[in-house]
Symmetry: C2
DNA sequence: CGAAAAATGAGGTACGTTGGTCAAAACGCG
DNA sequence: CGCGTTTTGACCAACGTACCTCATTTTTCG
């Protein structure tokens, strides 16, 4: 039961190979009647184009540029690794990805990379968005030049119509609240929140979602204003410790950005330990989970994000049909028992 | 910067195409000195074989048989759909998968399918294991005949060395206990457990893991012996209702198999509603989650499992190098806020 | 009806690899 | 050195599709 080819289609439709080719690739004029015959044959045979052969023949290559934040952020380093790995596995389909690192949270640096992008060199780009007018202009220019543009992890305003690959951070915050609310049971009190910087969109959104659920479903719990740690563990520790000392009724902790090391340090051996929910799975958070120092980790899977971004860019570059669902990135919850 | 080909390798190594081919595909004798020259050229050029062209040429096809339980179990139906879908997307690499359905929990039926398998017709098989001596014999025979054998979702004893694609069901049960234990807070009492059939390994393992965590970390909770529903919602409802009527102190429900519809029906509008954790995400469980009738869903992603199974079979059939991590299936937790 | 225009067919080359055949060259050994 | 044996090179036909040219048929319309 070998797969049918354009030769089979031609035979069944009683036309020549050339005509099948013209229909399939929408070349020059073909009479509607003939076109219908070919399409009918395609349907009858269940013909699907052999993508490998097609790419081989047309010798098409897809070059994509990924611009990611440099630095020690382990989520980003994982993401980088996954991009490289998945690009390699798509090599047979003509995909090549180049990764460039820029200083984190630096709109100017990101803009320079995007601005230097010429349509000749790349077919599309994916980057962790920092929102700034210059970046928006660069994106508009790239889209006008018909390059695929994908924002990764952190988004830009939707009207730019770049595709976004990442989680819904409002729902991530809601999920954290649901977990923490459940774990707190009937205990009433307040929740300490540690953030990176509220001026980053994803952190602000997580906090908003977190408060939504507390207000609606756990009215006996209240979120304190976030401690801003700026991804700095020392700062997180000092400020959180101060907050805990100053506040009697803290019944839970939500850490929605980086700097978890400081959070755990600040908790030290306070007793009783309140339930703790943090973001991102690292070797540290994994160990703390196993040791029972934290109770749950929420994360987005960098492997899925890398794959989704590459598949999206590929879909944008060639035809288009591309599966929104397949490219959705989930909000994952880890307890100590379901660690990967 | 177009990719290098065997032609380039031949030129750089100053040998003919044939010799490059002989080295690359380990054909007949090549003098060590020549082989070294070719390998050096490969390294220098960073040559990697164009897999698309190779498969195109060698016209190798891989036929795999999937044996899945028939019936309304929606996890299995999703799995079936994903297998078909992913097989289609691997069609360019020569993969074809056939799915056959057998009565669920029926070792005899499974055995008959496996036993009828001849090495000529298929290159490998994946199936949801029902453990029985006959099935074990059939698996041994298939492996002796050098067919790839993969157990899916439910495993056989490991010494048979079939690859297993699915979640660690002990840990899935532990995860359920951790969640339910957390949600029960300080309330003491017993947990009602609803299973499909304890003679399928996965259900027995989930129950075991569930009890481990309760015993260790939630000593005020006790798991009742499982109600066996055999994937039948009506039966689940009747039995669970009877159990709830007969037992005063049920503070939580764990449904570890199919038949969730019955579980929810049995709970009806009992008040207060105990926390409920179930397995598998379906349109029903999704709705119940949103309505607050159940509190958490644990699932294994059928799409991932389908992909992992096919990739594993493919790896077994051809060379081998295959990524254990990439093919791991996670234990996912869904609350109403992080539904996909 | 006949000419121009449109549609279709026939056939070729190419993509990178596989897997042959056969002849030529290099090698090993007595 | 000459023999047989190994190793190597040169060539070719696939695989399924793309894309090209040129000839031939069919359609359209004045």
């Amino acid at each position: 039961m070998t797969r049918s080819t354009i030769h089979d289609v031609a035979r069944v439709a009683r036309v020549s190979l050339s005509t099948v080719d013209r229909v399939l690739n929408d070349r020059n004029r073909v009479r509607p009647a003939t076109r219908a015959r070919v399409e009918e044959a395609v349907r009858a045979l269940g013909y699907v184009r052999n993508a490998a052969a097609a790419n081989l023949s047309r010798q098409r290559r897809f070059r994509f540029l990924f611009v990611l934040p440099a630095g020690a952020n382990s989520f980003m380093r994982n993401l980088e690794r996954e991009v490289v790995a998945y690009a390699r596995s798509l090599a047979a389909e003509g995909v090549e990805a180049e990764v460039r690192l820029v200083p984190p949270f630096d709109g100017e640096a990101l803009f320079r990379e995007l601005d230097a992008l010429t349509p000749g060199a790349f077919d599309g780009t994916a980057f962790v968005a920092v929102d700034s007018p210059a970046v928006r202009r660069a994106v508009a220019r790239l889209q006008a030049a018909d390059l695929g543009v994908v924002t990764l992890v952190s988004d830009l305003p939707a009207d730019l119509r770049a595709h976004f690959i990442g989680i819904d951070n409002i729902r991530a915050g809601r999920t954290a609240a649901r977990l923490l609310g459940g774990f707190c049971g009937d205990r009433a009190g307040r929740i300490a929140v540690v953030a990176g910087a509220m001026r980053v969109n994803d952190h602000a959104e997580r906090y908003a979602g977190f408060r939504q659920v507390l207000a609606q479903d756990f009215p006996h719990l209240e979120a304190l204003p976030p401690v801003e740690a700026l991804d700095d563990a020392g700062r997180a520790e000092t400020r959180l410790a101060a907050l805990l000392d100053a506040t009697e009724d803290v019944v839970g902790i939500y850490s929605l950005g980086a700097g978890n090391r400081g959070v755990v340090a600040a908790l030290g051996r306070r007793d009783p330990a309140p339930p703790v929910v943090v973001h991102e799975l690292t070797e540290h958070s994994r160990r703390w989970l196993l040791e029972g120092r934290i109770d749950a980790v929420i994360r987005q899977d960098p492997a899925r994000e890398a794959r989704a971004a590459l598949r999206t860019l590929l879909a944008l570059s060639q035809g288009k049909p591309f599966d929104r669902d397949e490219n959705r990135v989930g909000i994952e919850i880890f307890l100590r028992d379901n660690l990967p």
